[in-house]
């Protein structure tokens, strides 16, 4: 890689790569009449039906309960790990935890715990613990070290942390936890698609019944729920919220799990097949080669094809769309733009892909559209907010001219950096889309779990982790070569929870 990369060059390289992959992507909607499906859905969505309010309410409360418990456990575990960030063991653990998607965690955990509240809570808590540990550690590192340095020499470590460290990072931590609750609500909703009693489950049920009115109702309430987080979630009342959530989860019915499931999982299920069959280490290499060749490689290729095309489309949507939320560009249409971006941001990629799948049928198209719309909306939202904060001269132009002459040039570097930052996230989500039947890595992982070949699933999870880790490393390398762009850190103020108004 050259030592310096200009921002337009970076954008061009990624765009060219994405376009070059289009011929390899399966984008058809063979055998489906998208318009008919779209019309049916649109009719239902324009007439939301709150009749099934009991099912809807139950699903929403469960969604909130799983999210709150999962985020709380994850945050506490992350906080416990963060002070030991200097240890390679803790860093490695954190990487391993967060490189596996919530849905994959859930698939594995359900082998051990069944479709139980514990499986759902842990599926959120484990990857979030890895993320929290990293972010809290960064926050501690970036905090002013001087108050801790002037403490009396004999002060114990705990007091040192609680008095001179925690207060400094508390505001940033609090806003990050709130942002993570929003993410947790998305994760929790999506867990329903693989059987937990959250929103995804109910949505799937309504769709199977063709009850688009009820599906519309539940999605409207879900967007409202996420958009009003700052109003209903007060950290002061966190204990009450958590107690309520835990009580709710404890009351959920779930099928009993035979005893010894964990033992079997650890000693039988995840042991590579050749070892289990007693073929010894000689059988290991052919076994591994076979998995990688027949599943790992095709899955990885499909993941990269979908992910790279989605990344380019994400960029296009964000760059063209951020003006929609800037008052001086969009005028009154700003509110509409804001609403559109908030709605798209509220729905997780997976859920959007599920919706598009109903319209276009199974191909890579629903996944690409879902990834691009959700991530494009997030980046567009952030860019729009930054654009509003740019001080403009009083005689600056308006509308598209302002966007093209004043805003786009100033925010271009930031835009590229944000896209690079989301690259890893997009690939991670792309892999998971396989659970919907698209041939990305998740498809092969899901099949392996369904066939109880957990050893195979584990190998494929490592492949998935390697792809996202590779994207992360490449993204950092490119960003450092772009020079003077403000780094997009996970601590960014822009990643605050949704603001109302």
């Amino acid at each position: 890689m050259p030592e310096r990369l200009s921002r337009p060059a970076v954008a061009l390289i990624f765009a060219a790569l994405g376009l070059a992959l289009v011929p390899f992507a399966d984008l058809g909607w063979a055998g489906h009449d998208p318009w008919a499906a779209l019309m049916r859905m649109a009719r239902g969505f324009l007439a939301p039906d709150f009749g099934a309010i009991e099912e809807i309410g139950t699903a929403l409360v469960s969604t909130v309960a799983f999210a709150l418990c999962g985020v709380a456990v994850g945050a506490l575990a992350g906080l416990a790990l963060a002070p030991f960030w200097a240890s390679a063991l803790v860093r490695g653990l954190s990487v391993a935890l967060r490189s596996v998607h919530e849905l994959f965690w859930a698939l594995l955990l359900m082998q051990v715990l069944g479709i139980s509240p514990a499986a759902g809570v842990l599926a959120i808590a484990l990857p979030y613990a890895g993320i929290f540990a990293k972010v809290f550690a960064e926050q501690i590192e970036e905090a002013d070290p001087r108050p801790a340095q002037v403490l009396p020499p004999g002060t114990d470590l705990l007091s040192r942390f609680l008095w001179a460290r925690l207060p400094l990072i508390w505001p940033a931590m609090r806003s990050y936890v709130l942002y993570r609750v929003e993410c947790g609500l998305r994760s929790s909703a999506v867990l329903g698609f693989i059987g937990l009693p959250t929103l995804g489950f109910q949505l799937d049920t309504f769709f199977r019944q063709g009850d688009y009115g009820a599906a519309s109702a539940i999605m409207i309430l879900y967007v409202l729920l996420i958009a009003t987080i700052p109003l209903w979630l007060r950290l002061r009342a966190a204990v009450l919220w958590l107690a309520g959530a835990a009580a709710w989860l404890a009351m959920l019915d779930h099928p009993p799990m035979g005893s010894g499931a964990l033992w079997r999982f650890l000693t039988v299920d995840i042991v590579p097949a050749p070892l289990r069959r007693g073929e010894g280490p000689d059988g290991l290499l052919p076994w591994l080669g076979d998995i990688l060749w027949t599943q790992g490689l095709p899955g990885a290729w499909a993941t990269i094809v979908v992910g790279q095309i989605a990344l380019v489309l994400t960029g296009a949507i964000a760059f063209a769309g951020f003006g929609l939320v800037v008052g001086r560009v969009a005028g009154r249409a700003r509110l509409l733009g804001h609403l559109g971006l908030v709605v798209l941001r509220s729905f997780p990629e997976y859920m959007l892909a599920y919706l598009f799948l109903q319209v276009f049928g199974p191909s890579m198209l629903p996944a690409i559209l879902a990834l691009a719309l959700h991530n494009g909306a997030i980046i567009g939202h952030l860019l729009g907010r930054e654009a509003e904060a740019i001080p403009l001269r009083r005689d600056a132009p308006q509308g598209v001219t302002l966007w093209a002459w004043e805003l786009a040039p100033r925010l271009f570097g930031r835009f590229v950096a944000l896209c690079l930052y989301r690259w890893e996230i997009i690939l991670r989500e792309t892999a998971v889309m396989g659970l919907l039947g698209i041939a990305t890595l998740g498809f092969f992982i899901d099949s392996a779990v369904a066939e109880l070949r957990l050893d195979r699933a584990l190998v494929l999870l490592v492949v998935t982790g390697a792809i996202t880790a590779g994207a992360d490393a490449a993204s950092r390398a490119v960003r450092s070569r772009m020079g003077a762009v403000r780094e997009v850190s996970t601590l960014d103020r822009a990643l605050k929870p949704l603001e109302t108004g």
Binding site: Q149, L151, D156, S159, L162, W163, A164
Partner: protein
């Protein structure tokens, strides 16, 4: 009784020498004031003294130039931080959540003369520069000990207040080392003036034995 002594030593940070040939002693009952241009090495000398004194097991109170307060905590809690090493982690945790009335009263007795009683429960980030400086001083006074090390502790307050604050410091500590830029205040407070110039100590004498010209030469 000598509390700390340097014998022709080189002081600095991470291999970069700031002061050379430092010979200096600090005895109980002495009040040293360091004088010199900014960047001359006053802070380096204060840090070296702090390390030497704490290394010898003495209780030292520190008021650094940048205050190093925790902006989110109240004035009272920032002051309470001066004695965290006197208690165990649990007691400190309890104090953080709910400072015992006795500790609060003790801090309050210091905040009154510092003119901070009205701000006792306000977070430090809501204070003015002068109020922050006095909060850092409150922390040092609450800590107490054999020696006070203070770097420009009255730079952000008016002269009348500065005199009163220096009087408090004199009353609380048997020995002290301060960096000050106001020569008049320095003369009235110090038992010995220490002048630093071009990386060396060029002056070390009681105020009465130091001519105005000698001090002017430090800043030339």
């Amino acid at each position: 009784m000598t509390l700390a002594a340097f014998q022709g030593e080189t002081l600095g940070y991470g291999g970069a020498a700031v002061l050379r040939g430092v010979t200096l002693t600090l005895d109980r009952g002495e009040r040293l004031v360091l004088l010199g241009r900014s960047g001359a090495g006053k802070t380096t000398l204060l840090n070296a003294l702090y390390d030497r004194l704490t290394g010898a097991g003495l209780r030292v109170a520190l008021a650094p130039q940048d205050h190093a307060l925790v902006p989110q905590l109240s004035v009272t809690k920032n002051a309470l931080m001066g004695r965290l090493d006197d208690h165990g982690a649990l007691r400190n945790l309890w104090t953080l959540l709910h400072p015992p009335a006795r500790d609060r009263a003790e801090v309050r007795a210091l905040l009154d003369p510092l003119g901070l009683s009205a701000q006792a429960d306000r977070p430090v980030e809501a204070l003015s520069g002068g109020q922050r400086q006095r909060t850092a001083l409150a922390r040092a006074l609450y800590r107490g000990g054999e020696v006070l090390i203070a770097d420009e502790p009255v730079s952000a307050v008016d002269e009348t207040q500065a005199v009163a604050l220096l009087e408090m410091m004199r009353a609380h500590f048997p020995a002290s080392v301060l960096a000050l830029h106001d020569v008049e205040l320095a003369r009235s407070f110090a038992t010995r003036l220490v002048g630093i110039r071009a990386g060396r100590i060029v002056l070390d004498a009681p105020p009465g034995a130091v001519s105005p010209a000698a001090i002017e030469a430090l800043y030339a």
